[in-house]
């Protein structure tokens, strides 16, 4: 972003990568695929690079409003300094926080999640599913991330991105507004679960396996971690792939 600014240019959209997308090895692949999609359709985008920092979401959900607002205000200062208008995020948690919780602190932007961007591009005819891996007829089940689905009512965009694949979409018993959490939200990602009789991600994977899928589609780096761990635990890594919607889109287009 700093480079664009120095060149006196403004991006159409800022890609907010997020901490998982920046550091987590698995999520980095999703980040690079989102970039490939943006590049493929010729959108002029920018990233903040080392100027980006945690949105404060996990601190807020853990109850640390101070730390959240410190992060938020620092980020808002950077975003406003670059005169950012539109943001796409690779993570439903960043998406929810910037979209809903930043405006009250002085940061108002048009914020979309990458599955919404993909949906828009498909609707505009700029993105198809051709020239790459064929998902035709493959059984795909989509796991709704809480902060995209229930949190913000976005259920159709990710499904739209899967529909163009001509694949066989199968819904889990608990889906959409009734979707079961992967177990990572509310800062659970960063701690051991409380005492119980099962891990939440195992409960979810058991349900996903009932649909007998070839691909489990995700839209959140935390869900990705939880679902991948679940698949590993069930020793199904060879038969079933857990892929982000961005990865599936990139593969289908040979990016």
């Amino acid at each position: 972003m700093a480079e664009l600014m120095a060149a006196g240019e403004e991006p159409e959209i800022l890609f907010w990568v997020g901490c998982a997308g920046s550091y987590d090895e698995r999520a980095q692949k999703i980040t690079r695929d989102i970039c490939k999609i943006l590049h493929h359709v010729g959108i002029k985008y920018a990233v903040l690079g080392t100027e980006e920092s945690c949105t404060g979401d996990p601190a807020k959900r853990a109850g640390n409003e101070f730390l959240f607002q410190m992060q938020a205000m620092t980020n808002i200062e950077v975003l406003n300094a670059y005169n950012i208008k539109k943001i796409v995020t690779g993570c439903p948690h960043c998406f929810n926080t910037i979209k809903n919780e930043y405006p009250g602190l002085g940061g108002t932007y048009e914020v979309i999640h990458h599955t919404q961007l993909i949906q828009d591009l498909i609707n505009e005819g700029k993105l198809k599913a051709e020239g790459g891996e064929s998902f035709k007829g493959k059984k795909i089940t989509y796991h709704d991330p809480c902060y995209l689905g229930r949190g913000n009512g976005i259920y159709e965009a990710p499904r739209k991105a899967l529909e163009v694949l001509d694949a066989q979409l199968v819904e889990m018993k608990r889906c959409k507004s009734n979707g079961l959490c992967c177990g990572a939200g509310g800062a659970q990602m960063f701690k051991e679960p409380e005492k119980g009789n099962k891990d939440i991600n195992v409960e979810r994977i058991d349900e996903a396996l009932q649909t007998n899928p070839q691909v489990i589609a995700a839209g959140c780096p935390f869900c990705m971690t939880m679902l991948s761990d679940g698949i590993k635990l069930k020793d199904k890594e060879q038969e079933i792939k857990v892929l982000d919607i961005a990865e599936i889109t990139a593969r289908a287009n040979g990016l």
Partner: protein, 431 residues
């Protein structure tokens, strides 16, 4: 005449007692912190009409929705009959509305059919709770009083409907006998089948008819006064509760204004914060919660839809969103009783956090909003959990160790993991 005076006294006493208890509940709710829920009145009204009046969130589970609909519609419509009973009781008339003619027959006929469906629905509900033992109705919080409360409500409704139908059966039989005072009025599609079990003499029938009439109306007045002590209070509070419910996206959590002031002052030393009253951050006790949280607690009818979809509860953790609501209600009731007994300044040394809700419960929450989504009357248990977390973290610094580590990382590295901020853009180099 004696009967009319007795009726008047009973009615006035019942209304007075109910008013006293209702005012206590409203006072207790007002012990909560202010929060503005007066915006967008039109949208609020629509939400109330759709969710409370139209029962839109019940349909997710069709069987209980169907049965509950009968009880709900029966309750609303049979109350027209109560209006007639009131007038008859006060003025010594009998079936005052019979002047409506055909319409009256239609109304009484409809009430009978509704009374029958209410009766059957309540019986099925009793079976679901006590014989089929549905999982949703069990749990640590559903022992003793809450368990009995549900059964008392269902049995009372069955008794009230039985009295109503028996009263009509006796009335119909008296009409056939041509008894004076018992004018020919009403249609009795259900109670006609009960006529055979009743005595045949006029005097005995009058006793049955009058007993059922008194039982029915006294039962209703007693039930009205049972409401403030019961989960059944939802029949009233579902309406304001949905009206004042959160209209923002569920993922959005409130930004605490008191924190904003301090953070602004920290980032910009020249910033002069507006005068705000110093309070604590988050909630330790019920009076630290908002009035909406407290109204939620009084509205909860303990149906357990929240708990049955809670990922923590499903996987055997201690957390149950229903228990969060019941604990909040029990505690605010206790705080209210303390005020009544010992005055407003009395402190009993107890609090919602630790004495009612444990740390283990609040830290098991994934903030997934499934409980909020599932509630048929828009109760928000998540907000209470978050307020308790805020207190634990900001006032006490009592977070689980790994959460403290995560927050330390954000403070030092601007990411929840221990990576160097300088490496944040490394993803672009590798492939």
């Amino acid at each position: 005449m004696v009967a009319q005076i007795l009726f008047l006294v009973l009615t006035l006493a019942a209304i007075a007692l109910f008013t006293v208890n209702l005012r206590k509940i409203i006072r207790n709710i007002r012990l909560g912190k202010p929060v503005d829920r007066q915006d967008q009145p039109q949208k609020r009204l629509m939400t109330m009409l759709r969710v409370a009046f139209g029962q839109s969130k019940m349909v997710v589970r069709p069987i209980p929705a169907f049965l509950h609909f009968f009880v709900y519609i029966g309750f609303v419509i049979i109350n027209i009959e109560v209006l007639e009973i009131m007038i008859d009781g006060l003025f010594g008339t009998h079936r005052i509305f019979n002047g409506l003619g055909g319409l009256y027959n239609f109304l009484i006929g409809s009430f009978e059919i509704l009374a029958f469906t209410v009766w059957v629905s309540c019986a099925i509900f009793l079976v679901r709770r006590n014989i089929l033992k549905l999982k949703r109705f069990s749990g640590v919080e559903m022992k003793s009083w809450p368990k009995s409360d549900a059964n008392y409500i269902l049995i009372t409704e069955i008794l009230l409907m039985s009295a109503f139908l028996l009263m009509n059966a006796a009335d119909a039989k008296l009409q056939l006998l041509g008894a004076s005072h018992y004018v020919n009025a009403g249609a009795f599609p259900v109670s006609q089948y009960l006529m055979n079990i009743l005595p045949s003499t006029e005097s005995a029938l009058v006793i049955v008819e009058r007993s059922c009439w008194w039982f029915h109306i006294i039962g209703i007045l007693a039930f009205l006064n049972y409401l403030p002590y019961s989960k059944h209070f939802h029949i009233l509070f579902a309406f304001p509760n949905t009206y004042f419910s959160n209209l923002e996206p569920k993922g959005e959590f409130t930004n605490m204004a008191s924190v904003t002031n301090e953070v602004k002052a920290m980032l910009d030393p020249s910033f002069v914060p507006a005068e705000t009253e110093p309070g604590k951050f988050g909630a330790k006790d019920v009076t630290d919660l908002s009035w909406v949280n407290l109204m939620n607690a009084y509205t909860c009818t303990e149906c357990g839809r929240c708990t049955s979809v809670c990922p923590a509860n499903i996987t055997g953790k201690l957390l149950s969103p229903r228990k969060i609501m019941m604990d909040t209600r029990d505690r605010i009731t206790e705080v209210g009783q303390n005020i009544d007994k010992h005055g407003a300044e009395h402190q009993d040394g107890k609090s919602l956090l630790d004495d009612y809700i444990s740390r283990e419960e609040i830290w098991a929450c994934t903030s997934c909003n499934a409980c909020v989504e599932a509630c048929p009357v828009n109760i928000d248990p998540l907000q209470i959990i978050m307020e308790l977390r805020r207190f634990a973290v900001m006032e006490e610094s009592q977070a689980p160790g790994s959460i403290n580590a995560m927050m330390g990382n954000i403070e030092n590295n601007q990411a929840p993991w221990k990576y160097s901020p300088a490496d944040r853009f490394n993803w672009a180099q590798e492939s």
